[in-house]
């Protein structure tokens, strides 16, 4: 690259979650063009599925609304949802990137009026709610979806055409086909984030076997006002109220058979979720089983706040077994209390597995020669020039750190343009 000016002045951001959206707006506000490619039908990633952030207990959509407005007011940003990067060739300053757009089956005519939903006869489990609720096969991902357009899940749609008839705006095309196109970019921010570790892989923890064993990401949907229970935290087995909850920390994390690393945020997430339960159930008891509590840095203060609640109990011990009483559907959690040396058993209404963050790059084939560590994370300073990983695809991190990481990647991406 030395001595040459970049051919393109555009940055490609792959991933439209907190990290990707941040990188995109930060780059565009400096004055460069940005293309965001997001696999899902909407922006916002995993954070918009959360009820609240720690430590402020505030809604993620608050900050996301500002970021969406930054996108809306900036013509330099182009957003492609339902899009995937197929191939990358060329080098820093002059990459050719092939992007595939999967069909939404709903075009820009959509006004989000919602008539199609009334007409659609088919239901599907909602991915947004981690399967805890259903939507129609044509659906709006969430109230603040960006773009504010409906989408059809072609895994469930049988093309009956009822939505097409119901739509007054000719916005639905059931025969839409995938499209490919190529763009030229100077640099790439890879911010494809994480996915929750598959809890069914831990056969001792009962997930998938017992309905009242859920994961931490599902707990967020249970607590969210736009979730499947409209924010009421209930036992999934009977929608009944809750007297006790056990949180199982490091569920599959710090474990050589699963994720050997620590996901950095699960301790704080469980403490936060304890506050969700406590707010709804003034007498409920919370048991948090942990190996080490890791509310790093200033977050210690949040831990201290939660610890003051006399109904929240922290028990140092790794959960060995989880069993269900088939009659009451209550769950017994068994662990050794390391401090007292005795075996503890707690029978609870709900068990929340604090499952970790698995990088989306783990075990996946990427469209470029990526330098991943054994754990699946992209190593930030070992990638080929012009490709910059940002956020949880690089290491597990909290939201604030993702924003900082993405802002850093934004500058690196700009350097690829101005480098001479």
């Amino acid at each position: 690259m030395a001595g040459e000016k970049a051919v393109s002045e555009t940055v490609l951001v792959v991933g439209g979650g907190m990290s990707g959206v941040t990188a995109a707006v930060e780059i565009a506000e400096v004055g460069y063009d940005v293309i965001i490619v997001e696999k899902r039908p909407y922006l916002g990633g995993r954070v918009v599925q959360l009820y609240q952030y720690f430590p402020k207990l505030c809604p993620p959509l608050c900050g996301m609304e500002i970021n969406y407005r930054r996108i809306k007011s900036n013509p330099r940003i182009k957003v492609f949802t339902l899009a995937e990067v197929q191939g990358i060739s060329g080098q820093e300053g002059n990459f050719d990137v092939t992007i595939k757009i999967n069909p939404r089956y709903v075009n820009t005519n959509c006004t989000a009026c919602g008539k199609c939903v009334d007409a659609c006869p088919i239901e599907r489990p909602s991915e947004f709610d981690y399967g805890l609720g259903n939507t129609k096969a044509i659906y709006l991902p969430y109230e603040m979806s960006f773009p504010m357009k409906y989408v059809i899940d072609d895994k469930y749609c049988d093309k009956c055409g009822k939505c097409v008839e119901a739509c007054p705006y000719n916005a639905i095309d059931l025969n839409e086909a995938p499209k490919d196109f190529t763009v030229k970019v100077a640099s790439i921010v890879w911010a494809t984030g994480w996915r929750p570790y598959d809890a069914t892989k831990m056969d001792n923890l009962g997930f998938g076997q017992y309905k009242n064993v859920i994961t931490n990401v599902m707990m967020e949907r249970l607590a969210a006002p736009n979730g499947p229970t409209k924010g009421k935290i209930v036992r999934p087995s009977d929608n009944g109220s809750i007297e006790s909850v056990a949180f199982v920390q490091c569920a599959g994390s710090r474990d050589e058979n699963h994720l050997p690393f620590c996901s950095a945020i699960c301790c704080l997430a469980s403490m936060k979720q304890a506050t969700y339960v406590r707010e709804q159930y003034p007498t409920a008891k919370i048991y948090i089983f942990y190996i080490d509590l890791r509310p790093f840095g200033r977050f210690e203060e949040f831990y201290n706040r939660v610890k003051q609640d006399e109904n929240v109990f922290f028990i140092k011990g790794k959960v060995a077994k989880v069993t269900e009483n088939p009659n009451t559907k209550k769950i017994t959690v068994e662990a050794e209390d390391i401090l007292s040396g005795v075996k503890t058993r707690k029978e609870v209404d709900l068990v929340v597995l604090a499952t970790g963050m698995e990088p989306t790059t783990r075990g996946e084939k990427l469209p470029f020669e990526a330098m991943c560590d054994d754990l699946g994370f992209l190593v930030s300073d070992l990638q080929r020039p012009g490709i910059y990983p940002a956020g949880c695809v690089r290491m597990p991190m909290d939201v604030m750190t993702c924003v900082k990481d993405a802002t850093a990647a934004a500058l690196k991406a700009i350097q690829s343009i101005v480098r001479r």
């Binding site: 500002i66 007011s73 006004t111 006002p225 409209k230 080490d292 210690e300 390391i338 190593v379």
Partner: protein, 756 residues
Amino acid sequence: MEKKIGVYICTGCGIGDSLDIERLSKVATEEFNVPICKTHAFLCGEEGLRLIKEDINKEGVNTVLIAGCSPRVNWDVFNFGTNIIVERANIREMVVWSHPPGEDTQELAEDYLRMGIARAEKVEIPEGYMPEEEYNKTILVVGGGISGMTAALEAAKANYQVVIVEKQAKLGGWAAKWAKQFPKHPPYQMLEDTGISSKIKEVEANSNIKVYTSTTVKKVEGQPGAFNVILSQNGKEEGIKVGSIILATGWKPYDPTRLEHLGYGRCSNVITNIQMEEMAAEGRITRPSDGRPAESVVFIQCAGQRDPEHLPYCSSVCCLVSLKQAMYVRERNPNAKVYIIYRDMRTPGQYEMFYKKAQDDENIFLTKGDIVGVTEDGDKSVIVEVDNTLLGEKISIKADLVVLATGMVSTLEGIPNTIEEVYAQYGLTGEEEVAKIKEVIASKPQPWEGVLNLDYRQGPEVPFLQSSSLKKLSDFPDSNFICFPYESRRTGIYVAGCVRQPMDMDAAIKDATGAALKAIQCMELESRGRTVHPRSLDLSYPIFFLQRCTQCKRCTMECPFSALEEDEKGTPKPNLFRCRRCGICMGACPERIIGFKDYNVDIISSMIKAINVPYEDEEPKFRILCFACENDAYPALDMAGINHLSYDVSLRVIPVRCLGSVNMVFISDALSRGIDGILLLGCVLGDDYQCHFVRGSELANYRLGKVGETLQRLALEAERVHMEQVTITDYYKLPKIINEFVEKVKEIGANPFKGF
């Protein structure tokens, strides 16, 4: 600009089914004599847009009012270029989607159209605030440690000029003292070089970077793009001009003399992790008492940390530092024994693999435990007694050396960052006369050593959050630190590294790189006449008609960003490159002399006046005005509409930039026109505030506390004006909040001013 307004009413999305569109059109054509008013069943479609574009091209329409969906959607579709004003009347989400068809809903839609036209008539296109002199684009980095050097290098690599100011005689900061750093690369088991010396060389060789060592910042005045900075180098002063500032002054170690209970100062072989690092860098690990190599070393974690008597927080890196230092000991001596006594091992992310390596070393013994005693025996060995261990018993370890894992304290600790704290340092209250305050402050040398020493109305440093438990130990910068961690209340000044939060070197490098981006971005946006976060790209700016200023100083005191200085008399002197366009000054001003071209007292008062207040009916029809923060409350109202949640139909919503921009004159205007009640919907305030302008909702709440006087003058009940804090996802609570307020107003009764 001579305005020609075109009103376009969309009848799609259920609007036409719910409303009498002909009657609605008459509001535009007959009440307001708008020259063009058209309807279409699908205005955002190709044909609808063509209709509007034709009127722009052929009829000379230059101000378009779309009555249809919320301004939060189809912003891109209804964009006809920078010369065409586009206004929106939200009759979809806020009318037909949240109210059943009927006369009341029709009246609601008509009022929104009236308010929209009133706004369209008054709004002007803002042209951006351009600097009078050339906008300076040099970055000042204060602090020459890992964060400062990184920020400087990364900005320099993007072709910006940078000045680094470092207090010490050499660049490098603390990390220059480290022997090694803990692993950053797979398989995350090997100690790595810190890379500091090569970084120093890189900085020194970069022609875009100028380095001042043994230098401090004596004073910063001015604003982004035109900061005048006075540097002090060995008593010699030098003035420089810069455009933006990165504060990266880092940390200092916690004072170990306060850790006598852990043996420090009492036992000669008890040292801190800093001393350990310095020894390792010198190539030895020995006992201070006799210089003999240490055969056994105990690390005491959280020394003076996670402790209300000392540092209440965790310094994030000390577990890793002790593991690293354990490796130093083990690499040097295969027989040496290491004991690490911790409360919780905190090795997040991939660092867990490093912890794993230590666990696999049988000469490193790790246990949770509480330190109950640290004493010294005859040969100066240290006896550490530990209770509540994982072995289930109290243990006693005899060691050659004990290392206290002490924490990091921000270099801002103890430095006043607000004007109130400055006054307190001089025994002033701030109520004194300006001349008196100046005299007292000038009479003695500044009792503290500042970092930036900003010559700002509201204090000399970047304001930091100070939660009750952290007290003077500065917390995150006063900002919405989760979503927007680089923002602070001082525009153009960005904070990076351990000065704001304990972090490791990798995190500091990322943090500093991000801060460099923000410093660059601020200069690029502002030099093009645009503002920075959270109204990024906005071209409008506040205009002051100072002829009518009464020097009440409310604006200069209330601006959360200290954008307004004062002259001798107290007249505001705007520094518009510090301004974030929130309009809080506009809300503060009792003389109504502050406003924006597209957002001012006249526009909002006209919208209020446009609301039709019926008074002839026997059954009084109530009218409630709602000021809703456009960042959170307004989207929440939209989402109530999307979910078809219904609430009282008497509510008329005016979106505001921030609740802090609501001028109390709006309240008296509305009440004297016969509006029955006023509801203010703003962001959460307090310690965990959500206001995007930090203080806006808090100020609105404060001002409302004083509105009673106005109401008394009008002989109206105080309960007619009410503020609620709502979050963006509280949409499902809104019907209850609104209905309860309306019910309360109905109980009080109709406003007696109706009809006057």
